[in-house]
Amino acid sequence: MTDVSSTPLELRLDRAPPRPPSAFSNALVFGWRAILKFKHVPEQLFDLVMTPIMFTLLFTFVFGGALAGSTGAYLQFFLPGILVQTIVFNAVYSGMGLSTDLSKGLFDRFRSLPIWSLAPFAGLMVGDILRHLIAGGLILIIGLILGYRAEGGIPGVIAAFALLVAIGFGMGWIFIVLGLLVRTPTTVMTAGFTFLFPLVFASNIMVQPATMPGWLRAFVEVNPVSLMTSAIRGLMAGNASLTEVLLALAAPAALTVLLAPVTLWLYRRSDR
């Protein structure tokens, strides 16, 4: 234990506050924090990429032949879907991160600073977007190695990734709100996955809805996850229609409009 008893407090207290920073630069600081987290907690990347890689390999090689006649044909169908699934599952992590921050009192400091209220959330979103791009990129590379071909070419892939980021951004709000409401990170994860599993499985990610019973097919066809998957498939194959893309964006846009104000309200009000 170092003896600090001899240390006087020699600190320049005389600085007037600098020019107040813009909301944008506040958000950038939180983005920088998210990037530092990758450096200091590299384990989170492992979580992030292992699950989708396992899913890709298992589904392709275990079910592929049975579902689509050959693993190659199934991969062509499944890869855009696993991208959507990965991004949607990833969105849970920012809610968990938020819940962790809240349980440790760090956000009390942020909330008592004269900064743009939504800046900490913008930072979470920056972290999310990076996670989405890293995970999506890795899956695409594995897909390409296994024989997946994107007929839409590079522009199609770029458009698909842009749409994925928009989807992740929209879905992220659900878990941010959950993170603000629930204090234990593991509960956020459990609640998140309980909600997401039916949504992801009762969609057209893994199988064509044609074989499902009528009532389920009716749900699958309007499931936002199916709409997102159809648009990503279309973009990567180079034959997406504008309607498909707009339908895929409907849920993320609605979530943002609805939940961003809720987030702000919960954040300001949270009298824990």
Partner: protein
Amino acid sequence: MNDAMRMNNSSSVAGQAAPAISVRGIVKHFGAVRAVDGIDLDVPRGMIFAILGPNGAGKTTLMRMLATLAAPDAGSASIMGHDLASAPQKVRASIAMTGQFASLDEDLTGRENLLMLARLWGYRGRGAKERADELLAAFDLADAASKQVKAYSGGMRRRLDIAASLIVTPGVLFLDEPTTGLDPNARQSVWRMIRALAGSGVTILLTTQYLDEADQLAARIAVIDKGKKIAEGTSRELKAATGSGFLHVALADPPRVDDARRLLEAHLGGKVQHSAEGVQLSVMAGTPEAASQAIAALIADKIELADFSMGSPSLEEVFFALTGGGGRLAKPEGDDR
């Protein structure tokens, strides 16, 4: 020092003559529980003011409201002349809060934490780095600057936490139980920092459940119990209000503590307080004559005394008297006073 004042002035013209903190009838309830039940406070600029009370008295809730972290259900408050309800962003610009639990990012290093906050305050590039390094040096953390905070000791964390509150010198610094869980050495060093800050014009509102902390640091003390302020004054005033003639008796004969208590109560009429271990008894004696008669009665009953003295009550006894024995305050571990 003057510059700290200048900063406050520049942030508010109306605030020049206003007290640092002014609170009227502030209330906060959680469900049916009135955590803070109508408290008034006035803290002049540059003062160290302590809010003293047991766990659950409402200290933290009161402080969180003043730091804009919780909205009051009734009442009003102004900080450095800014109204809490109508100008929370101005309040935030003139305060800093160090919570009970370190408000730091454990995954980042000490320097990264300070850099992040400096940037949020508007320091850029080199300026942010310089400010972070100045703070690290002043708080004796330069050697640990590039360690992750999760590897810090309790005392280091607390120092970094306070450093993080001083990036821009606040008009009012809120410290919620600044030394809870610290060893005596680290405690002394936090006390020194608090005094140094107050010496340079920062108003400090701190909560504590340690009487000696309030006694040693604060110019004024408000005693809070069950959401209400039950007393306020200087440590001397609080002691005087309880009466000065206190008899303290230490027994060499612990098993006879109940006999001793009965005798003292019979002779002096007051309620006897005893230490947790039971060998130290204190009671209001009124006059020295009454006290000596009580001591004589103990000796006559063959109760062995280790020590006895007359004096003013300790703050703990004051608190005991004020709350009617309802709340017990914590004794700091390794109290080396």
